[in-house]
């Protein structure tokens, strides 16, 4: 199994995608530090919108619609506590990393199935069980590394550029990141399940990239139409993006425990279902 993981590492460092992933991660950190705002790629969640009121207030006071001039004054409106909380909000935007993890899973697993290079391994190197678990370990390991590296990179750049005033301690940042891990790794396992299910790189990309946006949109639509409390609660607290934000910024024990259970549940169901599909699948 170690040899399989070593081989994937060998291939990863020779692919462009890993350098693109690192570049995107660094860009996100730099942009965030420079603008002192957490950025989100997917649908904005409720809590990350809380500064919108402050933005409208400044716009009214200054009597301007120029967003850049409003944003430049936003920081002066923040209290010291809010300034420190900004660093946690960046960690709260870690759902952004999902899109980078999509590429990791593609490079390590989906490409192998899609190009049919998996045949070489399965026919003359290892059995399916060893293949399955070595790929899973490598994907989970590299995703975890990416998540931690993102926190450390942001912390480092933020401390250099903005200083202590804009950051909580490294321990608190890592604690927030670790609390998000079950949810993020659950999503990672879900991505591997999609790969084994569709066995095609193109389908995997479509489902993993558009599927999550579609899922959020449908839920928002249902919430508006049905006014169902359960959907509202889910969207506010447990939908991946909201949950990850809340875990970092406003952690509560009950919420953390439920998110942990959701993450582990998603992980176990995805892994078991993936293994069952893969074990029986014909490799063409």
């Amino acid at each position: 199994m170690i040899n399989m993981i070593k081989a994937d590492l060998f291939r990863m460092i020779r692919s462009k995608s890993i350098y693109i992933i690192i570049a995107v991660m660094l860009t996100m950190a730099i942009v965030s530090v420079a603008t002192k705002t957490p950025g989100t790629i997917a649908n904005a969640n409720y809590e990350s919108m809380e500064e919108m009121d402050m933005i409208y207030e400044i716009a009214e006071e200054e009597n301007t619609n120029d967003l850049s001039s409003v944003l430049s004054k936003l920081d002066s409106k923040r209290s010291d506590e809010q300034k420190k909380e900004y660093s946690l909000k960046v960690i709260g935007s870690n759902m952004n990393l999902y899109y980078l993890i999509v590429f990791i899973v593609y490079g390590v697993l989906a490409a192998d199935l899609s190009n049919k290079t998996i045949k070489n391994t399965l026919t003359s190197i290892s059995g399916r069980k060893k293949y399955f678990f070595s790929k899973l370990i490598f994907i989970l390991g590299s995703s975890t590394l990416l998540i931690l590296l993102n926190t450390l990179t942001f912390y480092g750049i933020n401390m250099i550029v903005n200083g202590e005033k804009y950051s909580v301690s490294l321990g608190r940042m890592l604690e927030a990141t670790l609390m998000q891990l079950p949810m993020l790794l659950g999503l990672t396992a879900l991505l591997t399940f999609i790969v084994y299910l569709v066995k095609s790189g193109a389908w995997y990309n479509s489902i993993s990239l558009l599927g999550i946006i579609l899922f959020q949109t449908v839920l928002l639509m249902l919430n508006s139409l049905l006014k169902c409390k359960a959907i509202t609660t889910y969207l506010e607290k447990y939908e991946a993006q909201s949950a990850i934000f809340k875990l970092a910024v406003h952690p509560e024990i009950s919420h953390t425990v439920i998110c942990c259970i959701i993450g582990i549940g998603m992980f176990l169901v995805s892994v078991i279902a993936s293994y069952y599909i893969f074990k029986k699948a014909e490799i063409n």
Binding site: N3, M4, K6, A7, F10, R11, R14, S15, K16, A111, N115, K116, T117, K119, N120, T121, L122, T123, S124, I125, S126, G127, R128, K280, E282, I283, N284
Partner: protein, 306 residues
């Protein structure tokens, strides 16, 4: 007794109602170059996919290196394989593609990669990306992968696809040398009998998932060779006469009524006269012998689709 490398027992594969393999019994011994011959869709690739674990059988069983299919573990390392089209990573060079699998296999001596690339004449282009390779070059790289790590069994599915005639001849020599020098066993599939004939020592003809015939190279020669066929009611007396009076030793008794004479030193009419003169009735006399293609057609009962 020869060591058995692959043995299948009533191997069956169904896709819904379609029977892709129907009770296949096959035994491949150490050092064999075993040719699987059949038309497209005959079931050759399916046999290979089952014994390499790419798909499960619907019935029957098989053994690899005398281990039952459900207990095959590290034995996989003893197999080199190229099934269907060669598949490698487009963004990696030929060398790095093989290195990736060498690391997976735990090979520490990377000079083996150079050796196999040399064997398939790809050493000069080892740093070229796989995506830039022609079909023939891709096929050669697939063969190089199969030969890496000194396998005991090499399974090649239509290995000469896209390779030029000189390349085919070189690969043929390489396979035969590897069998001779290292005792490597090959299972090679093809729908071109004339090509397999030059290399294999045993053949299995397969059509519509059923084994039509399993035959050695010598038996195939006998079946196809030009000869004079005599049908008589007294084979024993006839053979004695052929040997003693006509001094013909190059013949074969097929069954109780048939003798095949391969020597063309004496005209069939002379032999016939001699037999009749000695009271041996000849019920039939004719020239026989067919080409490999005709033989293949006669077995599958129709025209080949090549």
């Amino acid at each position: 007794m020869k060591e058995v490398i692959v043995k299948t027992n009533q191997l069956t594969k169904k896709y819904g109602d379609f029977i892709a393999l129907d009770n296949i019994n096959m035994t491949v011994n150490k050092g064999d170059i075993y040719g699987l011959i059949g038309r497209n869709g005959a079931g050759k690739t399916t046999i290979m996919k089952i014994i390499t674990g790419l798909t499960e059988s619907s019935g029957g069983d098989y053994e690899l290196f005398s281990r039952p299919s459900n207990k095959i573990g590290d034995e996989k390392r003893r197999i080199g394989c190229l099934i269907e089209n060669p598949a490698f990573f487009n963004n990696l060079s030929a060398y790095n593609n093989l290195k990736y699998y060498a690391i997976q296999k735990g090979i520490s001596d990377m000079s083996k990669i150079g050796e196999v690339l040399e064997m398939v004449k790809l050493k000069d282009v080892k740093n070229k990306k796989f995506r830039t390779f022609s079909l023939g070059m891709k096929q050669r790289l697939g063969i190089a992968f199969a030969l890496m790590d000194d396998p005991d069994l090499v399974i090649l599915d239509e290995p000469i696809n896209g390779i030029d005639p000189i390349g085919i001849s070189e690969l043929r020599e390489t396979f035969m040398r590897l069998t001779r020098e290292r005792g490597i066993t090959f299972i090679i599939s093809s729908h071109i009998l004339s090509e397999l004939y030059l290399i294999a020592n045993r053949f299995m003809f397969i059509d519509k998932g059923k084994v039509l015939k399993e035959i050695t190279h010598e038996e195939l020669d006998t079946e196809c060779m030009r000869c004079t066929v005599f049908r008589t009611n007294n084979v024993k007396k006839a053979t004695a006469l052929i040997e003693e009076k006509l001094n013909i030793h190059d013949y074969k008794v097929i069954d109780d009524t048939e003798i095949r004479i391969y020597s063309d030193d004496i005209a069939p009419a002379v032999i016939n006269t001699e037999l009749v003169k000695n009271g041996i009735s000849v019920s039939a006399l004719f020239e026989s012998g067919i080409t490999l293609e005709e033989y293949f057609k006669s077995l599958v009962g129709g025209s080949t689709n090549d």
